[in-house]
């Protein structure tokens, strides 16, 4: 016994770690959009090794979920599947159903007609009060009805029936008692409104007013039931699993198909307290007795999130064959791996403990043939979250071909971008920009990056420029506009530049836009305009103080842009930091990252960069800052890896300097007097 217990704990540990962030599993919608469960990853690559299920865990699972064979000796082994049901999990079991006669199979539905007994939980080896007799579970409604009708034959038959079911029960002594004239309707109304406390109070008031009044059994039973359901809900909402189970145990009559939400909550409570045996039995009870298709599917989804795979497989065998010959649970055999993947995506820090590689392979095989592409998209995001952009792009393409929604296209574009296939990323973002404002944003970001990467003597292709300006105008992109502003500044088209900066600032003021306006004013020697800008924005953007009339001082960018070194086009102005234009939110994150970096909070800076990357992917500026943050945290190898990665894409002074700095620090080769602090993070 202690042995089994410790193994149970092992499973518990392994389960509980994997459900850290999953939203209350029990209560998700049955037909949720798969993407809704797939948050965009926080960190693309986990350095942790993927860890599979340990052998011991597997052994334990086998013990707790004995093989799905008929007549298994375990007390909670699943019983034989219903007639006509086929099993995805155990194809061998399906031999009794002939795939060539689906119509015949469809007729053979499992017997789920008529009232069924409530789910009975196994109270285990704990002390059982054999004499305890819960009158709660006996419904005397019919008996009282017949008594009221003076139908003595029926009264006798009902007494006989109840006594057979509950040998210790005795007929109530007030069966034929004169009925009170008190109107119970107000109490029923309160009950109907879920105001159980008030209903109790009302009963007390009625009793005070008429000592002969006794609330009807029906009312009391319903009220008690309602209170118990509310208690189960409240307990499970607070994750008080033992409390949930305790209430359910006292009111086992609630554990019936009519109260599916209660069943689900109790099932989750069992699973969360390592009582997989009862959890399994409860889910099995639902699948054997309850008929609602949606609820059955949802039950399997919930079980998948909470039970080890063995249990899920056994439950899958309880699926009905539908008139079209399909099993009602087709596709759900991968619910568990789906939820594990969803979890891995949202928690990249946690290694892929829960994802069995073999199961993942099966899932991938399955996903390839699926008509809706949703599963392919899930695998796409999974790969994306692991930094496997090539695989991600392929899966997104698969999903996209199969007709998955816009999110798959977005994933595809982001993957291409991370693979530096910017041409295709830009092209697809532009093509589909009408389908989602997000695509317009990404398109602007990509093109803005391209513009920022242009040499001064390079120009954008006319067609590209037209598309870009149109999208920027249509989407009122402040960042696109200021990017265009700087583009025209670099090409001495000051008037155009001024217009774009004006637009940018009118859509959304930013330092880049405002400084751009100042540069234009400065170039045009428009003193009054410059002072107006300084008056309006001076408090907000300190960079403006560098603009002296006519001869602003040289201002070194806070974060060097890709071209700041080459672009000393005119010392009378400086081009302020132009972070990648990754949309308002992402850009805000870059500003955050910079200020955290400046304040010496390097880890916080990294966190902000992670978030930013999650939204918009990697950027040159982001990666350089990431390199320096790692450098500051003395993670020299990581810093070097980042600088080298950027350097291999496009070698710049920054990347080269980063690599050199790491090398120097590593080998203690800094010359004593070389720090002239031209660039902030080199100081």
């Amino acid at each position: 016994m202690p042995m089994i217990r410790s193994r149970a704990l092992l499973i518990a540990t392994f389960l509980s770690t994997s459900f850290l962030v999953v939203t209350p599993v029990g209560f998700a919608q049955a037909t949720a959009d798969p993407f809704a469960k797939v948050p965009i990853p926080l960190v693309p690559q986990s350095s942790e090794t993927t860890v599979g299920l340990s052998d011991q865990a597997r052994t334990t699972l086998n013990e707790f979920y004995p093989a799905q064979t008929r007549g298994a000796s375990s007390s909670f082994a699943p019983s034989a599947q219903p007639v006509g049901a086929t099993s995805n999990a155990a194809p061998a079991e399906a031999s009794s159903s002939n795939p060539f006669v689906p119509v015949v199979q469809a007729v053979q539905t499992p017997q789920r007609s008529g009232p069924t007994k409530p789910f009975e939980m196994d109270l285990g080896t704990g002390p059982k009060d054999a004499t305890k007799f819960d009158t709660n579970i006996i419904d005397e409604t019919a008996l009282r009805y017949y008594a009221d009708q003076r139908n003595l034959e029926r009264v006798g038959a009902e007494i006989r029936r109840l006594k057979t079911l509950h040998p210790q029960w005795a007929p109530p002594s007030d069966l034929f008692a004169p009925r009170s004239t008190v109107d119970e309707q107000p109490v029923w109304d309160l009950f109907g409104a879920g105001q159980y406390l008030e209903a109790r109070q009302k009963i007390e008031n009625l009793q005070n007013a008429d000592p002969n009044y006794r609330p009807s059994t029906d009312l009391l039973a319903k009220l008690t039931e309602g209170e118990a359901r509310a208690a189960i809900q409240a307990n499970s909402d607070r994750s008080n699993w033992s409390g949930t189970i305790a209430v359910a145990r006292d009111h086992s009559n609630l554990l019936v198909c009519e109260h599916m939400d209660t069943l689900w909550r109790v099932g989750e409570a069992f699973a969360r307290t390592d009582d997989y045996a009862n959890a399994f039995d409860l889910y099995r009870y639902i699948l054997v007795n309850c008929e609602d298709r949606g609820e059955r599917r949802a039950t399997l989804e919930k079980a998948s999130a909470l039970l080890p795979q063995k249990g899920v497989d056994a439950l899958l065998a309880l699926g009905d064959t539908q008139p079209d010959g399909m099993n009602e649970f087709d596709g759900l055999q991968f619910a568990k791996v789906r939820s594990a993947i969803a979890e891995a995506i949202s928690n990249p820090i946690i290694p892929d403990l829960k994802i069995d590689p073999a199961e993942l392979n099966r899932f991938q095989e399955f996903a390839k043939g699926q008509p809706d592409g949703d599963d392919a998209a899930i695998i796409g995001w999974y790969n994306y979250s692991r930094g496997e952009y090539q695989a991600a792009s392929e899966w997104f393409e698969e999903a996209f071909q199969a007709g998955a929604d816009d999110k798959a296209i977005e994933g595809y574009i982001l993957s291409l971008r991370n693979l530096d296939d910017l041409d295709n990323a830009e092209m697809i973002a532009l093509r589909y920009r009408d389908r989602s404002p997000e695509f317009g944003k990404i398109y602007i970001e990509i093109v803005a990056d391209r513009i920022n990467g242009l040499e001064d003597d390079e120009t954008l292709d006319r067609g590209d420029l037209d598309s870009f300006t149109k999208v920027v105008d249509d989407s009122k992109s402040a960042l696109g506009a200021q990017t265009l502003g700087w583009y025209f500044i670099a090409r001495d088209e000051i008037t155009d530049a001024g217009e774009w900066f004006k637009k940018s600032v009118s859509w959304e003021p930013s330092e880049e836009g405002v400084v751009g306006l100042a540069v234009v004013a400065s170039r045009e020697k428009d003193n009054s305009a410059l002072s107006a800008i300084k008056t309006e924005y001076g408090d907000r953007y300190a960079a403006l103080s560098d603009f002296k009339e006519y001869r602003p001082v040289v201002h070194q960018a806070a974060v060097r842009s890709t071209r700041s070194d080459k672009k000393r086009l005119n010392v009378t102005e400086s081009k302020p930091v132009r972070v990648r234009s990754t949309g308002g939110g992402a850009d805000k994150l870059m500003v955050d990252a910079k200020s955290q970096f400046d304040a010496g909070n390097y880890q916080a800076a990294l966190n902000a960069l992670d978030k930013r990357e999650a939204r918009g992917g990697k950027t040159y500026g982001g990666e350089i800052l990431r390199g320096w943050a790692n450098f500051k945290l003395n993670r020299l190898s990581e810093a070097e890896r980042i600088f080298r990665a950027q350097d291999s894409q496009r070698s710049t002074k920054d990347t080269r300097f980063g690599i050199g700095a790491v090398q120097n620090t590593k080998y203690n080769m800094w010359p004593d007097q070389t720090n002239d602090c031209k660039v902030r993070w080199k100081c």
Partner: protein, 377 residues
Amino acid sequence: MKFALLVFTILVISSGMASGRKTESQWSVEDRWIQYVANPKPAQVEHPSERKNDLTIGAWQLYRSIFMADGGRIVDRENGAISHSEGQGYGMLIAATLGDREAFDRLWDWTERELLVRDDSLAAWKWDPSADPHVSDMNNATDGDLLIAWALLRAYKKWNVRDYLREAEAIVDDIVSKATIVTPYGSVLLPGTKGFSGKDRPDGPVVNLSYWVFPAIEELAAQMPVLAKSNLGESGMRLLRDVIVSGKTLPSEWTALGGDDPVSADGFEPVFGYNALRIPLYVAWSQKPDPQLLEALATAWSGGGEAGLDIIDVKTRTAVEPIRGRGYGAIHELTLCSLGHHTNLTSTETFEPSTYYSSTLQLLTLIAFSERYSQCP
């Protein structure tokens, strides 16, 4: 043992409810009833006897809500709300037979506390709520004692409470030692321990033939040798045959045995009345019903007229006054049906509480139908 086998044989022949498993061969009638109530057949086809069983169970619930006071006392509402050992005995018998443990316990508790106040195991016969003390006459009524003992025996068999058996045995011991007397007819049942013997009355001993609760005597005797030895049942049957078959009249309420022949006792009206009308019930309910006796009873007490049943003057054999009540009609129908006469059992189709006495007899007759004549429509 021989007796038990006989019981079983009769039962299998006469009762459609026996399931006939071999191990059940020793079961007595009430065991079978108990078994039947506890394990009713699935109600697919509504067999008439099943409907009657259900009616009996339901009727008892209604009955107890009306006639059983909270403390466990059966109230004879028409007689100043008194209680008596007979009523307690009937109530306990029905509760035990139908498996109503809660009612049985309450009835027995009250009986033990309020009526078993003599220095033996017999019950004081009458309890008056308006008298102080409630029990003023310490005499017993022997039929009440028989009924209580019978009920205790059935309760013992049903719930296996050994105390019930001991109490029943003590009562039977005292009945045999204090309330029987040997006569030329054999050992006969005195109506009470006091006032009915040859010493007490010139025409004594005086008996009440409706106090021979034959099924009670039979079941108790099967369990208790002291009662079997007294051959009480035989003496009762012999007396009845003498009066009814040989004397070609009905027995009167009170019968004097002091003379050569059993005659109506002095000081009592010579009528077959509310006491004596239970005789056909007990004879028909007996495990050895005497068809000749029943036929004679049915013929003599047939009502005939539109008024239905009557109280009969046993000397003139004429009707004195009509008897109305489902309970009495039920007994008459039971008698007819026991003889195989086709008759509409209107008095047991439904149960409607009326007087204490009629209602009680109707319930008892329903049980007698179930136990002995389930083939009746």
